[in-house]
């Protein structure tokens, strides 16, 4: 197969390609329309995200509105908090301060037992 024959064969291929090649302008036009598609493709998720955001804000405001107590509920809870039972006096608070001490019978059981380190020091 000579170079000349190969060149001729490739020329035939080139001729066929030239006949079938899409026009340059058409490719650019398609490019522009695909750019437009891309830009509209950006708007779609953006719109979806906006809707989600608005829904989240709405849901938050509704929930926070529901969570605020009405005046009736406040009165009800205040009444419960200020209510005192007859047995409340039994629940007397401890009046002994931490600085005060007193001895008991069992104190004698707590004898001083030297530890192993004390023994070593004595040696």
């Amino acid at each position: 197969m000579t170079d000349h024959t190969l060149k001729k064969l490739f020329e035939d291929v080139r001729r066929q390609d030239a006949q079938n090649a899409p026009s340059f302008e058409r490719l650019l036009r398609t490019q522009r329309s695909s750019e437009n598609r891309t830009s509209s493709g950006i708007w779609m998720p953006l719109a979806f995200a906006s809707v989600l955001f608005l829904a989240a804000v709405l849901a938050f405001s509704v929930l926070s509105k529901n969570s605020t107590l009405s005046s009736e509920e406040v009165e009800q809870w205040t009444a419960i908090a200020s209510w005192s039972a007859p047995s409340d006096s039994i629940l007397a608070e401890n009046t002994t301060t931490s600085s005060e001490s007193f001895s008991t019978f069992s104190d004698s059981l707590f004898e001083f037992v030297p530890t192993s380190s004390d023994k070593t020091q004595n040696l």
Binding site: M1, N20, A21, P22, L27
Partner: protein
């Protein structure tokens, strides 16, 4: 540097000049894109469109280190390669579509053109049997009239490697064409 035969030096700087340069090489770029994607006209068109988009949006920049045509061909080749890597999942789905349209593409209206078209189709099919690099170097040298040196740059291989591919490709293609019994010197 003048890589192609009788190709004037151009080095577009702004977008209008770039567009003119792309339009000037459009037919050749299409032929190269066809070669880079196994003669599938749909893929070639997609690749070319992506390449134009890349260049006109400034995602692929011409730095003047090689001739514009060589650089453009390298961009087309790289784009085709990355498309091939990404498109392996789509491949099976598109295969039937490709077969359908290849039939349309190679068919012609009159019998004389059909004969010529069939011969070209057979030549393309034989070319597609060559390893990719061998097919590319033959296309760049014989179709695009590039020197082996410029072809090496467009393919992103060394000059020595390009020469080896060129020699092997010619031998192998000669043998394959002989086997078809349709091509004679």
């Amino acid at each position: 540097m003048n890589d192609g035969l009788h190709e004037p030096l151009i080095s577009p700087t702004n977008s209008a000049e770039l567009k003119d340069a792309l339009e000037r090489y459009h037919a050749m770029s299409y032929g190269w894109a066809m070669s880079c994607c196994s003669s599938n006209p749909n893929d070639a068109e997609d690749i070319l469109q992506t390449v134009y988009q890349k260049i006109l949006q400034g995602r692929a920049r011409y730095d003047g280190r090689a001739a514009f045509k060589t650089w453009l061909f390298a961009v087309i080749r790289n784009t085709a390669a990355s498309e091939r890597r990404r498109a392996w999942i789509r491949f099976l789905r598109l295969r039937s579509y490709q077969k359908e349209h290849q039939g349309d593409y190679y068919s012609a209206d009159n019998s004389e053109a059909l004969e010529g078209g069939e011969r070209v189709s057979l030549f393309r099919a034989t070319l597609d049997r060559l390893p990719r690099r061998q097919k590319e170097i033959l296309h760049l040298v014989f179709y695009q009239n590039l020197t082996i040196e410029a072809s090496a740059k467009a393919m992103g291989v060394s000059l020595g490697s390009a020469r080896t591919h060129y020699d092997r490709a010619k031998k192998q293609l000669g043998q394959l064409l002989k086997l078809t019994g349709q091509f004679h010197d």
